[in-house]
């Protein structure tokens, strides 16, 4: 994807292909692609931090989980909530958690930053796991799927798989477009400057802290959106959504896809989910399919050895680092 025109054509073709899935595939395909698109939004949220600002966050699952839990906890016991306030409220809750977590963790750097963000997500995990409010380790069910109505007129039925597929697709396109515009703005250029050389940005008169914090909050909000969409689809949330495995998995997705580009995050999310599904397939591996982790693990190792820049980075033997030299210690 060299020329900007070619890039636009490929992206448009991808969206059209995704829009056609419900016509070509059955129920399983619709469900599976919905799941992959939710993962893509989640991966995009992390790509903003890791790829664009150079902040390796290892607690992204917390925002995802807060968004999902907010969706379930804010739904009244006896009636469906309107998606028009439940959605923003869930995303807002995740953004709020990100603001608190970000304001503290941005003071540290490098590996220490990775660990502090992990610590904050573990706190969220244990709060959900050990307090009665959030249902404990079993999690809680979403009583009613939110209604999407304008002036009493039902717009789409979010409990049906196909309409919901298009809602998620729209959310993915909007999130991607929003980030693409954001990164081209003055704000986005400042983030790129911070990634390349934070000291120089400071010397140039930028107070970098507010920029990093804003990126953190936006990232948290997007991850919260993914969590919200997940909760509406699955109808159940549990503490494992906030476990460090989830933060690890989404990090793997963007590394696999290739850090530094938005489409890399989406490609990574799809590729990772497809890899999992491939090795889980009993048709291909028979009884061995229960050991699908082994296949995924070996595939990841091969990817690192042969594709140092991720799937979208091309085939190179020389692994050039994306970050600046001082980032690598």
């Amino acid at each position: 994807m060299r020329a900007p025109g070619a890039r636009a054509i490929v992206l448009a073709a991808a969206v059209v292909a995704l829009a056609l899935v419900p016509f070509a595939g059955g129920k399983f395909a619709v469900d599976f692609v919905t799941k992959m698109m939710v993962s893509s939004i989640f991966a995009l949220s992390l790509e903003l931090l890791v790829g664009q600002v150079g902040l390796a966050c290892f607690g992204q699952a917390a925002f995802f989980g807060v968004g999902a839990y907010a969706c379930v906890l804010l739904t009244p016991k006896d009636a469906a909530a309107s998606v028009w306030w439940l959605g923003p409220a869930s995303v807002g809750a995740a953004a709020l958690y990100a603001a608190v977590m970000g304001s503290l963790s941005i003071r540290t750097r490098g590996v220490y930053f990775i660990m502090v963000t992990l610590a904050f997500s573990q706190v969220a995990y244990y709060v959900a796991h050990d307090t009665p409010m959030a249902g404990g380790s079993d999690g809680i069910y979403l009583g009613f799927v939110p209604s999407a109505a304008i002036a009493g007129l039902a717009l789409v039925d979010l409990s049906k798989a196909r309409p919901y597929y298009y809602v998620v697709l729209a959310a993915l396109v909007l999130a991607f477009g929003f980030l693409a515009v954001l990164l081209r703005s003055r704000f986005g250029r400042a983030l790129a400057g911070i990634r390349a050389n934070e000291q120089r940005m400071r010397a140039a008169g930028f107070s970098t802290y507010p920029y990093k914090l804003a990126a953190f909050v936006i990232s948290g909000a997007l991850a919260g959106l993914a969590g919200f969409l997940f909760a509406v689809k699955d109808g159940v949330v549990n503490p494992e959504l906030m476990g460090w495995h989830v933060s690890g998995t989404v990090l793997m997705m963007i590394i696999l896809g290739g850090i530094g580009s938005l489409h890399g995050a989406v490609v990574g999310a799809f590729a990772f989910s497809l890899l999992e599904e491939l090795f889980k397939s009993e048709a291909l591996f028979g009884g061995f399919a229960t050991h699908w982790h082994l296949g995924v693990g070996l595939a990841i190792i091969l990817c690192v050895a042969l594709l140092p820049r991720g799937l979208t980075g091309g085939w190179t033997r020389e692994g050039k680092s994306l970050g600046s030299a001082d980032e690598r210690r």
């Binding site: 220490y112 660990m115 610590a119 995990y125 590394i255 982790h293 693990g297 595939a299 990841i300 190792i301």
Partner: protein, 293 residues
């Protein structure tokens, strides 16, 4: 809480902290000297525990010295395993981004976890405590304390002293300290960094495997045990300051105490306390308690 209970909890905290140190020291060495974030370190702890499960029946035939011989055999195997793993999976990653190493070692976690499932199954297993360590000693008038836990603490202290001696007194230790302080300079001074790194990695694996073997009779042997330890050990390494053995020692004892007494006094919040501790330490000292030696 009376004095005897308090004393028992103190000994538990000490034993847990020392065991954490054994795992975390390898992690901090590998990170501090080689610059590799090794997520698979917890898997080596797990390998150690399963090694104890596999080897214990055979070595139990040898009376008396059998358990110690098993530990020695396990450490030997672990050194070879670490040597081979570094050659096959890590040796070409040093010039690459940290995140590449994270991805590689994450892949290794999945592979180790599934190999464990294939070879040993998914059941929880117990490992018998050898006869001469099975009893307990009297503490005060009412409390008993198991001898085996004291044995764990004793072995850990011996290893810690040995590590200190090697790192502070020998030529190898000098290279390690120099490597933690400034890797490029060590390379420039003409030291064979490849061999140093391979030895470091093997030593780290051996420490984790030893910890796993020691812990197996107390904690039993179960799937996923490595990942649990991994995260706590990263917390220890970060609190102590990356690359610092002294820091890892102090932080391991601190984490052991906070975790043990947290479970006694605040059972509701026990899981969070360690992470709160880490967040507080890092907000106070963003580079951990001790900077790299």
């Amino acid at each position: 809480m009376d004095v005897a209970t308090f004393l028992v909890q103190c000994l538990n905290a000490l034993q847990y902290g020392l065991l954490l140190f054994l795992v975390a020291s390898g992690l901090t060495l590998i990170f501090g000297v080689m610059g590799v974030i090794n997520l698979a370190h917890g898997s080596f702890y797990m390998v150690g525990a399963y090694m104890a499960y596999a080897l214990a029946p055979a070595f139990a035939q040898v009376p008396g010295i059998g358990f110690v011989a098993m530990l020695a055999a396990g450490v030997g195997l672990a050194l070879m395993l670490g040597w081979a793993l570094e050659w096959a999976f890590v040796s070409f990653l040093y010039d690459r981004d940290h995140l590449q190493q994270v991805l590689m070692t994450y892949g290794l976690i999945l592979v180790f976890e599934e190999l464990r499932s294939l070879v040993a199954g998914n059941d929880v297993h117990g490992v018998a405590i050898p006869g001469w360590l099975a009893g307990s000693v009297r503490l005060g008038s009412l409390m008993d304390y198991p001898v085996y836990r004291l044995f764990i603490s004793g072995v850990c202290v011996l290893v810690a002293l040995g590590l200190y001696a090697v790192i502070a007194r020998t030529r190898l230790g000098m290279m390690v300290r120099a490597g933690a302080a400034n890797r490029e300079m060590v390379t420039a001074l003409g030291i064979d960094v490849k061999r140093l790194f391979r030895a470091m990695f093997a030593a780290g694996v051996a420490l984790a495997v030893l910890a796993g073997m020691l812990a197996a009779p107390v904690s039993s042997v179960y799937p996923g045990m490595g990942n649990q330890v991994l995260i706590i050990c990263f917390v220890v390494v970060v609190i102590g300051g990356i690359g610092s053995i002294r820091g890892a020692f102090a932080a391991a004892l601190l984490v052991g105490a906070v975790d043990t007494f947290g479970k006694v006094f605040f059972p509701q919040a026990a899981g969070v306390l360690v992470y709160v501790l880490m967040a507080l330490v890092l907000l106070w000292r963003p580079e951990g308690l001790f900077r790299a030696a």
